[in-house]
Symmetry: C2
Subunit: 198 residues, 2 copies
């Protein structure tokens, strides 16, 4: 199954959250009103506050679930079988595909961090640190095995993640490329970045 927001119950809370993701992605957190969210979910503005204490809690739930998913994708690739090159290919391919396919969610997850409360942001930043660690581990493995030539592992880790994340900003579902095609292109480009020359 793996239905996008299946873990959110009851049904009304899920509908509100899906509506919030759409609204936040389209107009940004601060430009979205609680009336807009409730309206998209077919409910009155007051209904929102039965399931969520504040508008910020809604953003936090979205951000938390999204970052959990992103981290799982990268960790699965990092801990999987195969050479470092194969694992890096898989990591980039699946991470990019997620950012393209679910670009609505990803946009909220990646670009609305600043709207979180201090406490919630700290929690999310820790998840991002672990995503960074997963990619760095693959690069380090590849260098150790002599597969990769990477003079600056932390910097290259940052660049790889940055490249993938920015897909959420520009990807357009009506555009020319499918998520799979972008994933393939990006996996190829990233492998070239880390592979020994000549």
């Amino acid at each position: 199954m793996d239905k996008p927001w299946g873990e959110v119950t009851p049904e009304a809370a899920r509908k509100l959250l899906v509506a919030a993701v759409e609204a936040f992605a389209e107009r940004g957190y601060h430009a979205t009103t609680t009336r807009d969210i409730a309206g998209r979910a077919g409910m009155s503005p007051a209904a929102l506050y039965i399931h969520y204490k504040t508008k910020e809690e809604l953003l936090h739930r979205i951000s938390r679930i999204g970052h959990d998913k992103a981290l799982k994708i990268l960790q699965a690739a990092a801990e999987g079988p195969g050479t470092a090159a194969e694992r890096l290919d898989g990591a980039v391919r699946s991470f990019v595909r997620w950012h393209a396919e679910r670009h609505t969610t990803a946009r909220v997850v990646q670009y609305e961090l600043d709207a979180l409360s201090e406490e919630h942001r700290t929690e999310i930043v820790e998840l991002r640190r672990r995503s960074d660690a997963a990619v760095r581990r693959i690069l380090n493995d590849g260098v150790k095995a002599g597969e990769f030539d990477v003079p600056d592992v932390p910097g290259t880790t940052l660049a790889v993640l940055s490249l993938c994340i920015d897909v959420a900003r520009w990807f357009n579902a009506q555009g020319r490329r499918t998520p799979d095609e972008v994933g393939e292109l990006y996996a190829d480009l990233v492998l070239r970045m880390v592979t020994a020359q000549k």
Copy 2:
């Protein structure tokens, strides 16, 4: 000279614009109030409306000037002397350096497009199209000259620009790397992406 916002006069209008850049970068366009902008500039809220018709006009001025600068950087590199590899190195190096050094401005320029009016956004999108064309030209030249191996020129152009632009999101002036160091790292990574293997 090349003082950042030297083209904006009179002085009061410049001070308001600089204050707006800071505020928009920190909190986002929609979360920034006209009172906050005026306060940072040491003026009353009403003073803003002597120099700008609306808050959106302020954003448009910022976005326009910033995109002009970004386009100039890329066009200068594309039309400069040297091999395609040298020009691409220069383009990435200077474009990344600008996004790092002026990350406050770049953040507004790159991430607040959606807050512009339909008309203003159309104007800005055209400037971005020309930035894309400048990079694509370098890649095409390199392929024609046999310097580069790039199976998908439009896709790789997109990836290169995307990588550079995302610097504005993560770059931290208090961080470990200087703008020059990031520029050098990124120029190296991008050259690896386009250079023939083996």
